[in-house]
């Protein structure tokens, strides 16, 4: 493709530089900053490798082993004799754990998030409750799911219940915080209007706040459902049920082909949940048009009674 604009000659570039010294200096500053941060990154990695690094010999042996593992991932021996029903049951249990944990967390986090939102807990007496609630969410969310799994395994024993509780606890923290941020981001006018017509507090929060934050609520819950399906695999490693058990078993036995197979199965499952949540999102967050009211016999030229133009995505 021939360009319409000719590239400037070196002399012209020099002239432009004389005319706009500020621009060129900014470019120089930018490059210098980029170089410095690059240097910092290199120094950081140097120190990191110096402290935690392994010998080149060990690295070479390790790379050889890794190549071996990857090779074995793609050679599926004895494929027709694998215990598929066992694998599928474990995958199914993982999905069940994720649904139970996430949906229960949604149920618990929703009321709690109102207790944490700054615009709901606005009076002097309620503010400490909001503060405590937010710190509680921080604690629940700060500990990883697998660690909660470990704790629950020692508290309630091995099995999927520990996994569901681990997801429940971590998601209550995460979703509660995110929902509360959703409640805080709503417009104030509907609440004020409801106040003016004499609504009580519960009605105000249900109709004035939650109506607006419902799309956020739904999209966060759906996203969390997806993301938990990915991360729930770690629960099995600590004995909290599900597909992680298969990973742990087969890695110890060097069955890398099974590991690959299970991962591919999980990719498919995640894609399915993705598609489902995309459907729900399209339906409830973008919303479906409600056809406007059109009188067949326009006898009253008064105010037009169109269906609520704002509330076409009204949640129920």
């Amino acid at each position: 493709m021939t360009s319409l604009i000719k590239a400037p000659t070196p002399a012209e570039v020099a002239r432009i530089e004389r005319q706009n010294p500020e621009l060129f200096r900014a470019q120089g500053r930018y490059l210098r900053r980029l170089g410095l941060s690059g240097l910092a990154v290199v120094v950081f990695y140097g120190l990191f490798l110096l402290q935690y690094g392994i010998s080149p010999q060990q690295a070479l042996i390790g790379l050889g082993k890794l190549g071996h593992y990857f090779l074995h991932m793609f050679i599926w021996r004895d494929f027709w004799h694998w215990p598929f029903d066992y694998y599928l049951t474990q995958i199914f249990i993982t999905v069940a754990i994720v649904f139970t944990g996430t949906l229960t967390a949604t149920l618990i986090a929703l009321p709690c998030s109102f207790l944490a939102a700054r615009n709901v807990m606005s009076s002097v007496w309620l503010r400490p409750i909001g503060f405590l609630m937010r710190r509680l969410f921080d604690i629940l969310r700060g500990v990883d799911m697998a660690i909660w799994g470990l704790i629950f395994v020692s508290a309630v024993g091995l099995g999927p219940l520990a996994g569901a509780l681990a997801i429940l606890v971590q998601d209550t923290g995460l979703l509660g915080k995110l929902y509360a941020e959703g409640h805080e981001a709503v417009a104030k006018e509907p609440t004020r209007g409801l106040n003016a017509v004499g609504a009580n507090s519960l009605q105000k929060y249900r109709l004035g706040v939650f109506t607006q934050s419902f799309p956020t609520f739904l999209s966060l819950s759906l996203y969390q459902l997806e993301s938990n399906t990915r991360s729930a695999a770690v629960l099995g490693f600590v004995g909290a049920g599900g597909v992680g058990l298969i990973y742990a078993e087969n890695m110890r036995l060097w069955h890398w082909d099974v590991v690959m197979f299970i991962t591919l199965c999980l990719v498919v499952i995640v894609m399915l949940i993705d598609a489902l949540s995309a459907q729900l999102r399209k339906r409830y967050i973008l919303g479906k048009e409600i056809p406007d009211f059109e009188p067949a016999t326009p006898r009253h030229p008064g105010p037009p009674y169109s269906a609520s133009t704002q509330g076409s995505t009204r949640p129920r």
Binding site: F44, Y52, L103, L161, F237, G244, Y247, P295, A307
Partner: protein, 292 residues
């Protein structure tokens, strides 16, 4: 309601719309309820089991509380009931926390840089040919779906116990998830600057550098900081399989029932997580809404 009844036609319309909405919400609620009940059945999440399990849980949590006596709170290590007695393993735990933090930083920085490169190659409005885009998307889906603990086990088997396997596992997982977030951000960027640059005769690299990069840079940085938080949280579990960090210490404490040490390790982790959280949310806000 007087206005409604005086417009029977509108009332009929309103009733019809209401009926449609109610029918749909009933269907969805029933579907979700059915799904929920089914999944609770298979995950053994019954109310009776919970009722029996809850006392154990509270017992456990109660046991992790340290024994502190107000009188000898600041006494030396050998006095039972002092803060120092509670933290007698701090000299082991603090370096491990530092190692965990280092792991998270190292994994995040390198994988953010690689993911930026891969994301521009995988984006539909990028310069790469179609087969390459598909290949990168598939590989990144694989990288992020394989659990990080599985990666960690694999690298521990290859390289031996230490921080390097953890770093590699975390980095691979992060490349997978960041690449997806990044190429979605790039695809939502406006195509106009790129076509303008191409019309002036810019090469594909220049078009990406000056057309796409300035648009997506804040989003990409913000995602990377978010990932740093997540990575720290995840690097706390790498130790479970011997891949470095505080996880090893935590697991030994839980398995050996050193209850007071479980609580102090958890408190350390939560402290660092919340510090990192507030720091990164502040940086993210500055990156997304430059005030200067």
């Amino acid at each position: 309601m007087k206005t409604l009844s005086s417009h029977p036609e509108f009332e009929r319309y309103y009733r019809r719309m209401r009926r449609i909405q109610q029918r749909e919400s009933t269907i969805w609620s029933l579907a979700i309820l059915g799904l929920y009940l089914g999944s609770t059945h298979f995950s053994e999440f019954h109310l009776t089991t919970l009722w029996h399990a809850l006392p154990h849980l509270f017992d456990y949590l109660f046991k992790t509380l340290p024994v502190l006596h107000l009188a000898d709170l600041f006494a030396d290590v050998h006095t039972k009931g002092s803060l120092a007695y509670w933290g007698y393993r701090l000299h082991i735990q603090l370096p491990l926390i530092w190692e965990t933090l280092n792991l998270a930083f190292a994994a995040t920085i390198i994988s953010a840089m690689l993911a930026i490169l891969l994301a521009f190659l995988a984006a539909n409005n990028g310069p790469a040919p179609r087969p390459l885009r598909q290949a990168i998307r598939t590989v990144s889906a694989f990288l992020r779906t394989m659990p990080e603990l599985a990666w960690a086990v694999m690298f521990v088997m290859a390289f031996g116990v230490g921080a390097i396997p953890g770093f590699l596992a975390l980095a691979l997982h992060t490349i997978g998830s960041l690449t997806k977030l990044f190429y979605e951000a790039i695809e939502s960027a406006s195509p106009r600057p790129v076509s303008g640059l191409l019309a002036c005769g810019a090469g594909p690299v220049q078009a990406v550098r000056f057309g796409l990069w300035p648009q997506v840079k804040p989003t990409l940085l913000s995602y990377s900081f978010m990932r740093l938080e997540i990575n720290f949280r995840q690097s706390t579990i790498l130790g479970l399989v011997g891949a470095g960090g505080i996880g090893q210490e935590l697991m030994t404490n839980i398995q050996l029932s050193r209850y007071d040490q479980v609580s102090i390790t958890l408190i350390l982790i939560i402290l660092v997580v919340s510090l990192l959280d507030s720091l990164s949310s502040r940086i993210r806000r500055r990156v997304l809404e430059p005030t200067s």
